[in-house]
């Protein structure tokens, strides 16, 4: 026990801020006995540290805690803090659940009261979580109870699983779109292996019966699966994840496991004592059993706070010549992934700890599940016999990628998953960076068939990640793609990535990280901080007026002084038979951009001062609204990121509408000729952001319960999606006039159609998900 107290000699009670302590200072100080933390604190520390040590002295850790616990269980403070902590650990650090269970099992062999108290607590907590639909927590409690199966009376956890299953059947029979039933089946299937690892042999029959039943639901592809497939396969091909429904895989994996006598070789069994501990093992085997307190499942179960979707198993390490992650045929793939995903999504409040868990993943599974950490991929070939070739880093990275690539959306903001990968790279760069490299290569090679929204997420992550590591990437390996047409998905990715990198840094810096062939992709205009004001050139129509307006804006002249110049533009335009309003809007908005070009604050202040005029222009005609956007985008054409931010603010002022943005980007050729706009990642970003603005605003209104303006807003949103559908479908089907241009008929036409299809899929999905949200909330209210 004393060992444990001294495990971290420099930790805890020392003042770490004594940075400048001299050595002799150290010597003079009397070496007093360290202050002993109170018992509950020590137990807490030990319990929290369970299994973290790579030394894997599981049985020692477990017994040490269990003995202190059993000896001092009468201590009220210890008891309360222990019971509280166990419940909390189960739902905060789920990778440690089997180890906590082992502590409890050993403690039960010494003092049965402990388990009986705990079961009462866990049962109550489970019931609460069921009633509010917190299904992940339910799953985590059941996992714990499953580990305790050997200490439970009768059939233990099985009756509860059977009851959950009967709810699942009811739900699935009622509707094929149901997702709660799918979730329940997932929970059941993920619980079974823990029961079988805890109490082998006698439950095979029970498990087989239950799995016979789940088969109907698990093996049937879910109606929503097509919608959330991360791949958007080209016509005539099949998506790599077409048969990767998580519960479908689980069902098969468990059947295979049953055939092999429930080997479950990846699961840790810390309750099994080594041969020298035969006495303790006997105590364990003959410990008192307890009846699982009743956990009632309401007749009508609810979906809970997070929207549920069927899950698809995604991996960036498929089709490698050597397996560096568990294959989907193995239950290990699902069990390890499940433990990691729960950890990742629960611990979003401390990405450092999350990353630590990812790096330490091998600590929480059976010995031999993985190869040694940081084994290079090339060395996997040298692994002998049937030993594992699974790289812990690959398994960890894969889990995070599965979240970045999760549709419709992962639990947290995407930037969280970015930050986890950054942290993991910081903790173990030599181990993680090569794994990330292979993940990047896989994603890059598959950009053409990944869902377009996911492509954008990949782009966003990739560039953000590089920005944390000195923008270092082996660009040389993609040089062949530099000469592809700009609309090619991989070339489009490169162009988008360079733009995003520049936004986080600056052109010159990024140029310095690129091999020669890429240099031409970053033109001199990108290195210019302030773009030229086109009206400085006298050949530009309305050059004089442009300069005059700019001068007035600069000295913050009142609007009355601007009006005469606008009038001059109008009459000149009329003479030339061009749209007067469009002409004056272009001059004015361009001048605003130029005057505000010093920084976003400058341009925002300028917009704020001139918003009445801009509002009038925007309200005047569709053409004027479009011209506002055109002026901003052409002024900032070398820095689309700035244009996007300005447009976002113009949307906030209602100077332009989301509909105008979408129309501008998709209907004509203003964002790029012949449909090239569709391949530009910044156009996708602009449109996507505008749509999200509309949908999240609507959700906010609906969730807040006010239904006054809702009807109109719902109608607006539907119209928006309808307009997108109309604009995109003609690109996707190749019926758009612009597509017919001879310039691009050298196969470019197919590229454009494909881009159209990919856009269409993204926004049809967004639309479907919003409709589902509306439906659900109508049902509630």
């Amino acid at each position: 026990m004393a060992d444990h107290d001294r495990r971290q000699p420099a930790g805890g009670y020392n003042n770490r801020k004594r940075r400048y302590r001299e050595d002799d200072d150290y010597d003079r100080r009397p070496q007093r006995r360290r202050y002993d933390a109170p018992l509950p604190v020590r137990i807490r520390k030990q319990l929290l540290g369970l299994a973290e040590s790579p030394l894997r002295r599981w049985h020692e850790e477990v017994q040490s805690i269990a003995h202190v616990l059993a000896d001092n269980y009468e201590d009220q403070e210890l008891r309360t803090s222990f019971l509280d902590l166990v419940l909390q650990m189960l739902i905060e650090q789920p990778l440690k659940t089997p180890f906590v269970a082992a502590v409890v099992l050993v403690a039960n062999s010494l003092k049965p009261d402990i388990l009986s108290d705990l079961l009462t607590r866990v049962a109550t907590a489970t019931e609460e979580k069921v009633s509010v639909g917190e299904w992940r927590d339910v799953k985590l409690y059941l996992k714990f109870l499953a580990c305790l199966q050997s200490a439970l009376e009768g059939d233990g956890l099985f009756p509860l699983l059977e009851e959950l299953f009967s709810r699942a059947v009811d739900l699935q029979t009622a509707s094929s779109d149901d997702t709660i039933g799918t979730e329940l089946v997932k929970i059941i299937l993920l619980t079974i292996p823990y029961i079988m690892a805890a109490a082998p042999a006698q439950w095979q029959q029970k498990a087989a019966e239950l799995m016979d039943k789940t088969d109907v639901i698990a093996s049937e592809p879910h109606a929503l699966q097509v919608l959330i497939d991360p791949y958007h396969a080209e016509e005539g091909t099949e998506s790599p994840t077409a048969n990767m429904s998580l519960i479908g895989l689980l069902q098969k994996q468990l059947q295979t496991e049953a055939l092999n006598g429930w080997e479950l070789s990846c699961l840790p069994r810390p309750w099994q004592m080594p041969p020298e501990e035969i006495e303790q093992q006997e105590k364990l085997d003959n410990a008192q059993k307890h009846t699982l307190p009743n956990i009632s499942i309401p007749e009508k179960v609810v979906a809970g706070p997070r929207p549920l979707f069927p899950e698809i198993y995604f991996s960036v390490y498929v089709n490698q010549d050597i397996e560096s992650v568990p294959p989907v045929s193995s239950i290990a793939s699902s069990l390890i992934r499940d433990g990691l995903l729960d950890t990742i999504n629960i611990l979003d409040f401390n990405r450092g700890v999350t990353a630590r868990f990812l790096i330490d993943v091998d600590c929480y599974f059976a010995p031999g599940t993985f190869v040694k950490r940081a084994t290079p991929f090339d060395r996997l070939r040298d692994v002998e016999g049937d030993r594992s070739t699974w790289k812990p880093e690959d398994v960890a990275v894969d889990a995070v990628f599965s979240q970045i690539f999760a549709l419709p959306a992962p639990e947290h903001k995407l930037v969280y998953y970015h930050s986890v990968l950054t942290e993991a790279c910081k903790i173990a760069p030599a181990a993680v960076a090569p794994s990330l490299g292979r993940a990047i290569r896989y994603s890059y090679q598959n950009t053409h068939r990944l869902d377009l929204e996911l492509c954008y997420r990949f782009l966003d992550w990739f560039t953000h990640h590089l920005s944390n590591f000195g923008f270092m990437w082996k660009w040389t390996e993609w040089v062949d793609d530099v000469n592809l047409p700009d609309m090619h998905p991989r070339k489009a990715f490169i162009l988008g990535a360079l733009d995003k990198e520049i936004r986080l840094s600056f052109a010159q810096r990024i140029k310095g990280t690129l091999p020669e062939p890429y240099q031409a992709l970053i033109g001199p205009e990108k290195e210019q901080d302030t773009p030229e004001f086109k009206f400085n050139d006298d050949h530009t129509p309305f050059a004089a007026e442009g300069r005059e307006i700019a001068a007035l804006l600069k000295r913050k002249a009142p609007d009355e002084e601007i009006q005469p110049i606008i009038d001059r533009i109008h009459s000149a335009a009329l003479d030339q038979a061009i749209d007067p309003l469009v002409s004056s809007t272009d001059v004015f908005m361009t001048a605003v951009c130029w005057v505000g070009s010093k920084s976003l604050s400058h341009v925002l202040a300028c917009i704020e001062r001139t918003k009445d005029r801009l509002l009038d222009s925007g309200a005047a005609s569709e053409a004027a609204r479009a011209q506002i956007i055109t002026a901003v985008v052409s002024y900032w054409s070398a820095h689309p990121g700035v244009a996007i931010t300005i447009i976002e603010k113009l949307l906030n002022y209602s100077i332009i509408t989301p509909g105008a943005v979408i129309d501008w980007a998709l209907a004509g050729d203003r964002a790029g000729p012949y449909g090239q706009a569709l391949s530009k990642s910044w156009v996708f970003e602009l449109v996507f952001n505008s749509v999200v603005k509309v949908t999240s605003r609507l959700r906010q209104v609906i969730s807040s319960g006010s239904n006054e303006t809702t009807e109109e807003e719902v109608a607006n949103m539907r119209e928006l999606f309808k307009n997108m559908e109309d604009a995109l479908i003609s690109w996707a089907q190749g019926t758009k006039d612009q597509i017919m241009d001879p310039v691009v008929s050298d196969g470019g036409e197919d590229l454009i159609k494909r881009w159209g299809e990919r856009w269409l899929r993204v926004f049809r999905r967004r639309s479907a998900i919003e409709e589902a949200f509306l439906l659900e909330h109508k049902a509630v209210s």
Partner: protein
């Protein structure tokens, strides 16, 4: 029940020790020992039981390079939600960026997420620091060091290219010293000349 318990691991979306110590101090103002010399916090903690950060939507962002632009801050911080307002910290005299800013979001959750996911990561190749802030007030955008920048840039003895090299006080000290040396050298040369 579990909500009342502290988490089994620390949370990154809590105000910093700096903020807490500032508030305990109860001296409403005093330039010396504040966070990088800015972001003054006018909250007398003992009188207000309400936590001023309970609904905070603003973050103080520190350790920026002087060369980092608003656009770069926007690009990174927008990953946590739409930015309502961005106020760059400026040198009190030159009105040039001096290495900090305030980012205001529309929601408290976005600000918390920013603490968790962006604080401590890199922007413009520097590890940046975020801290929840009760809200921007006019005047707080200026550095409070003697020479106009942030206090930490006065006496910093490490050379930080992104923040104007050495601390300014040290720089001017060295300049004076250099000046004296030059004068002395001048003197000696003159002497030499005379001796010859």
């Amino acid at each position: 029940m579990p909500g009342a318990l502290r988490s089994t691991v620390d949370r990154l979306d809590r105000p910093s020790a700096y903020y807490n110590s500032r508030n305990k101090r109860r001296r409403p103002d005093h330039g010396r020992d504040n966070k990088d010399g800015d972001a003054e916090v006018h909250v007398p903690v003992e009188e207000s039981p309400e936590d001023p950060l309970k609904n905070a939507t603003t973050l103080y962002v520190g350790n920026l390079s002087f060369y980092t632009t608003e656009e770069q801050v926007y690009e990174l911080f927008s990953k946590c939600g739409e930015i309502k307002r961005l106020v760059m910290g400026l040198d009190r005299f030159n009105k040039t960026p001096c290495g900090f800013c305030f980012v205001e979001y529309y929601t408290h959750q976005d600000a918390l997420d920013c603490m968790k996911y962006i604080g401590g990561t890199k922007l413009d190749e520097r590890i940046i620091r975020t801290d929840l802030d009760p809200g921007f007030e006019e005047g707080r955008q200026y550095g409070r060091g003697k020479s106009g920048g942030q206090v930490r840039d006065e006496y910093r003895d490490d050379y930080d290219e992104g923040r104007g090299g050495l601390g300014r006080a040290i720089q001017s000290e060295r300049e004076r010293e250099g000046q004296r040396n030059r004068e002395r050298d001048q003197h000696m040369e003159d002497d030499y000349g005379r001796l010859r």
